[in-house]
Amino acid sequence: MRYKLDITKDHCPMTYVKTKLELEKLSSGDILEVILKKGEPLENVPRTAEEQGNKIIEIKHLQDDIHIVVIEKG
């Protein structure tokens, strides 16, 4: 299954709190697309998702400072 999470309006620490809680709900192999801003979220969300045993499929630039991180749940 493919899921989407928009954290562009959130700030520390809810950006990674929401990502972690969303990933916990998914099953192994599920895909989560996280829409986020550059800076702290873009630096930390992919890194910590990977540290927790998930796989970063790709990071795309959408527009302006908005990026999308595609994570496969490990």
């Binding site: 959130d10 700030h11 620490p13 809810m14 709190v17 809680l21 927790q52």
Partner: protein, 159 residues
Amino acid sequence: MANKKKISIVLFSGDFDRAIAAFTIASGAAAVNYEVNLFFTFWGLNTIKKEKGRKALGKGLLARAFNFLMGGFKNLPLSRLNFGGISPKLMTGLMKNRNVATLKELLEASIQLKTNFFACEMSMNILGLKKEDFIPEIKEVLGVAKFLKLSEDGEILFI
């Protein structure tokens, strides 16, 4: 994930803004895969009382008066410019407007991310409080020795 990083936070203060700092670090650290311990002591115990408002908890007149005056989660004062308790409400409104997590949301996130809550035995004794006076997430009531054991090989913060 053999060596999970660890942070242990002592929340001594019962101030609204300091509680925000404690629960921000707690939930943020848990979200980036830290093991998180939160120790509530003295004024910090007010943040985790089951009763969110003012209630004369505890044993003995003085303890009951103290607990009533301190209140619970809803009565936490701002450390500066409290203005009789209006400021924390204004601050919460500001936080909502700016899409920043409120104290309540940070506490809930800390619970959802399974941070460990502990209460200090000695200060509970002074204030005549029992484990049942606190939210059920309090894992254990303990003292300094157990706290040091639990926080071993990690960071310690005192707020």
